[in-house]
Symmetry: C2
Subunit: 418 residues, 2 copies
Amino acid sequence: MRGKADSDLVRRQNRHIVLEALRLHGPMPRVELGRITGLSPASITTIANQLIDDKAMRELNEAPDRSDPNRRGRPTVRVELNPDAALAIATKISIDGVDLALVNFAGKIIARKNTLIATYEVQPDAFGKALANIMRDFFDENSLKSGDVAHIGIAAQGVTHSQKGTIAWSPAFRATNIPVVEPVERETGVTCSIANDANMIAEGVMSADRYSYTGTAAVVFMGYGVGMGLVIDGKVYHGATGAAAEFGHMNHIPEGALCRCGRLGCLEAYASDYGILRFAKNLAEQTPPPSHAVPRHIMVDLENAARQGQANAVAAYQNAGRAIGFGLARMIALLNPDRIVLAGPGTRALDLIEPALRAAIDEGVVEELRRQVKIETVPIDTDMIIKGTIDATLRYLDLNIFASGPMRNLAEQKEPQQ
Amino acid sequence: MRGKADSDLVRRQNRHIVLEALRLHGPMPRVELGRITGLSPASITTIANQLIDDKAMRELNEAPDRSDPNRRGRPTVRVELNPDAALAIATKISIDGVDLALVNFAGKIIARKNTLIATYEVQPDAFGKALANIMRDFFDENSLKSGDVAHIGIAAQGVTHSQKGTIAWSPAFRATNIPVVEPVERETGVTCSIANDANMIAEGVMSADRYSYTGTAAVVFMGYGVGMGLVIDGKVYHGATGAAAEFGHMNHIPEGALCRCGRLGCLEAYASDYGILRFAKNLAEQTPPPSHAVPRHIMVDLENAARQGQANAVAAYQNAGRAIGFGLARMIALLNPDRIVLAGPGTRALDLIEPALRAAIDEGVVEELRRQVKIETVPIDTDMIIKGTIDATLRYLDLNIFASGPMRNLAEQKEPQQ
DNA sequence: TAATTTAATTTGGCGTCCAAAATAATGTTG
DNA sequence: CAACATTATTTTGGACGCCAAATTAAATTA
């Protein structure tokens, strides 16, 4: 049951949709903010001026637009998100290391830092310490103090536990239950949150094209692993512990191929880089996966071999397509989504994968359910995870800081102990 | 993006939570309504008196409670939902026929009617006509006129299309895309909606114990078929077309056993009554399922045989448990739910099914994901579908009629054409 | 009967929204 | 160039919903 409503809720909600409109559509005049949000001009005036007072927005100082010769009347004054309203840090933890991006409130990346860490053998506490050091260096390099950064968002490969702030299990680590949020918060004094990387890809894909993500959508990541981000009713779905949509470790065939997670028959064991490679090399299904990512050039070579008709390679991609297709068929039966988006480096080989994928969906689910699902592909972009993390973190600031009122509310944020 | 907020939203929301509190906890004094909803006594006075004006609520006329001898002060006056506020009809369409229940606003069943129809061979339009006739008879038998009934809710087995108001596909019909809502609305003049029967079971289970359904839960129905109702973020999830959670037709084994839906390897082909029976009889996996439900006594006999150690029967239930377990493991990987509830007549045999079911979950999903899932069983109750449909329909009335304000708003309900 | 206790209502004020009127800043026209 | 037209934004005044505090109501206790 949703809670009670009062004028506080109204103010938060309406300020939030104003900020959201600006984030989605960029600078625009107040009239248009009114059109988009459905708020009256009078309310827009009030809200805009408050947000400007709070430094969340600002007026653009530009010459009137003369491009339309038929334009009459008082010229519009466009407003935009104030880039200097706040800073945030987006973080990606993967098998390759730690990737950091410092962004301003308008979403512009101000600084980046990429640190290689041999994550696989590291001890849980040592990793927290290493991450804290990286973060501190990043603060120092950019002359940041604790109060300068409003939030730190972290995306990690594997099963993340958002409440506990840990990585419960990840292919990048041999260890489990690695504390992440706590060491970062202690070192920096900045609030921090962690989420699954595939969910962050979904955030990014959704932010880029939000108007069309009103219902349910699944964003599939194909590459060194297989992941999924679920958008349910227009919001990224995180599940009970923040570990939803572990599509790659959804079982495909009971007692099937050995997965990096140690279990048998996971989808990833058939459709990830190493799964495809293992099949193409004619290795037994039980052959242990490598502990490191398969180098890109090896996969590219394999794709080319398949395109030239090398039988094992062709079969490997068909096998992968079939696995993903059945996984999607199962997902469709459960969730009846509006659309499916395929993303990640694995989509390079989509021509090799797609026929088997579509055949498997047809085979695996009632026609009535799959008929209306749109399947799309998103351009390959290795930075999708960091972009999505930025989007999610900024949305967090919009809602939790700026929509609530002036900055002073930050102190009152905590639950009153009643 | 959620829309703007205004005082209208506040009023609707708060009236709704007041009605919801009464529906969940029964009659209570105003003070307690305030405690439960978080609204101030002043606001409760206002809202309660308006709802009483609108005939949605009424004061109980009872002698003061003397049970607590230490009780001081002005005695409480309890308020309750007004049973006469509205009437609604809940409808169940299944392979057995059509089941109707007339309920008052307080949820009491006033009349029932059960009509057998040989659904399987019927033509789509003929079914609509037959249903309309049944409905008209029900109106006549209870001296109801069009305006007397506020809404008709329908639950049907199979894939329902809530927007179109049709049954897209159902094991109860050979035909597909059967119009249901339109013929009923035309005959009765009452608004009508349709949903999947498993979703209605979830509504019922949730209503009975709502405080504990805050996150994500899956209610599995086992019996003549296998179904699932998903509760996501405290609300029953319906998917893009109203056909979500077709758990029974989620693929279990590619190219596996023949399902009633004509596809191979659906979970239902292993775990429904007929699937279990087919396995126990040692019939080939491709043996066509019967077009009618398996009589109860046959299943009971089979359970007893298994309990006495008859090998085929034991194996059949293990096989079913394994299928459901893997299906749940896949669902857990995708949705990371808080709880799973097993329901339906199939739970009679839970002792036979559960070990294999739990083993399959353990085998099929990472420990980090399944650790916190609670698995529960709900008492067998053949009327769960109709009960859930009643709950869902009354909740619809709460939100769409009584929370919005006085009845006159019913006329203004339609979208203004802007 | 007066004091105490608890429930419910009334009063007065606050915050947000909106419609309508007013103001601002430009282009058009005679 | 002055008056008019047009479009954007702000101001004004009123409505509605919430709440805290004061008040009233209806019992029990002393």
